[in-house]
C-alpha cells in the first residue's frame, strides 16, 4: 500500500517536471507570419484561416517548439510567401539590398551632380582672367578713372 502511494505521488510530482516550458512567442510569430488567404500578418487578421493558423501556432508552442522551428514548419507548408518580411539569403536578399543600394547610389549621384555643378558654375576670379577688356576699352576706362582721381 505504501509503495502504491509513493508511486502515485511520484507520478503526480513528475508530471509538471516533464511538461516543457514554452520557448516561442505567439505574439512574435503572429507578426512574422502572413495569412495566406488574406495576405496580412496574423496579428492583423481574424479571418477563419488566420484563426486556424494561430491555433496551429499555439499547438506547436504547447509542444515546446521554438520560434524558428514553427516558422520553418510554416515555410515548409506554404513556402517563403508565408513570411511577413523577405528572407535575408538567396533571391529574397535582393529585397533588402536593392532599396539600400538605391539610396546609396542616389546619394552618390546627388553628390557627384552637386560637385559637377559647383565646378562648372564657380565664377572665375578676376585675377585669373588675362584679358578682361581689350586695349581700347582699357584705355577709355583708365581715362575715365583719371577724371575721378583729379
Amino acid at each position: 500500500m505504501r509503495l502504491a502511494v509513493a508511486a502515485v505521488a511520484a507520478l503526480v510530482l513528475a508530471a509538471p517536471a516533464t511538461a516543457c516550458t514554452p520557448r516561442a512567442s505567439q505574439a512574435y510569430l503572429e507578426t512574422r507570419l502572413v495569412c495566406i488567404q488574406c495576405h496580412t500578418t496574423l496579428d492583423e487578421s481574424n479571418s477563419t484561416f488566420a484563426v486556424e493558423m494561430k491555433t496551429e501556432i499555439a499547438r506547436q508552442i504547447k509542444a515546446c517548439r521554438t520560434n524558428q522551428q514553427i516558422i520553418d514548419s510554416m515555410v515548409g507548408q506554404f513556402g517563403p510567401a508565408v513570411l511577413s518580411t523577405p528572407q535575408t539569403h538567396g533571391f529574397d536578399l535582393i529585397a533588402w539590398v536593392l532599396p539600400i543600394g538605391g539610396i546609396l547610389l542616389g546619394a552618390a549621384g546627388l553628390g557627384f551632380g552637386a560637385w559637377r555643378w559647383r565646378t562648372v558654375r564657380a565664377p572665375a576670379s578676376i585675377d585669373s582672367i588675362d584679358t578682361f577688356l581689350d586695349a581700347e576699352d582699357e584705355r577709355r576706362v583708365d581715362e575715365e578713372l583719371k577724371k575721378f582721381d583729379a
Binding site: I36, T48, F49, E52, M53, E56, Q77, F78, G79, A81
Partner: protein
Amino acid sequence: MRALRAVAVGSVLALLGLLVWDLAHQNGPGVAVKVDKGKIVPAPKLDLPLLTGSGNLTLASLRGKVVVVNFWQSSCYPCKLEARDVAAASRAWGAKRSDVVFVGVNAQDLKGPARAYLKRYGVTYTNVRDALGSTWPKWGVTGVPETFFVDRRGRVVPPHIAGQASRAQIDNGIRRALRS
C-alpha cells in the same frame, strides 16, 4: 552627360519592356468564364504534390479518363456540405466505370486540418495540395468549392459548378463529359 542620358533612356526602355512582358503574361479570366458561356476549352496544366503520401499528380497523366476536379478548403462551410456527396459520387462512379476519376485540389490550407477533413468526410479519391492557390487564376476559380469536368481529351466541358455541388449536378456533369 551623354552617358547619364543613355542610362536614363535605357532604364525607361527596360521598364517599358517589363510592363509589356507583364501584360503578355497575365492569365486572363481563366477557363471558368469560358465554360460558363458554354465553351469547351483545354484544361489548364495541373501538376501538384499529393495531399497524403508523396509524389505529384498531373492532370495530363489522366488523359483518356473523365476527371472531376473539385477545389476545396477545410475551413469552407459549403465544401463541408458537399463533401459527402462528392465522396459518394466518386465511389459510385468508381464502382461502375474505371474511366471516371475524381481529383480534389486543396488550396491555401494547413495540411493537418485538410487531412482531418478527408478522414472526417470519407474522401478516398486522390487529393492534391496547392499551398498558395497558384492554380486558381488559370482555372478561373474565385472561391471554394468549385467543380470542373474534364473530358477524355483533356478539355474542360460545361457545366462548371461554382458553390456547393449536389449529387445530381455531379452525375449530370460526368455524363456530359463522357458524351463530349
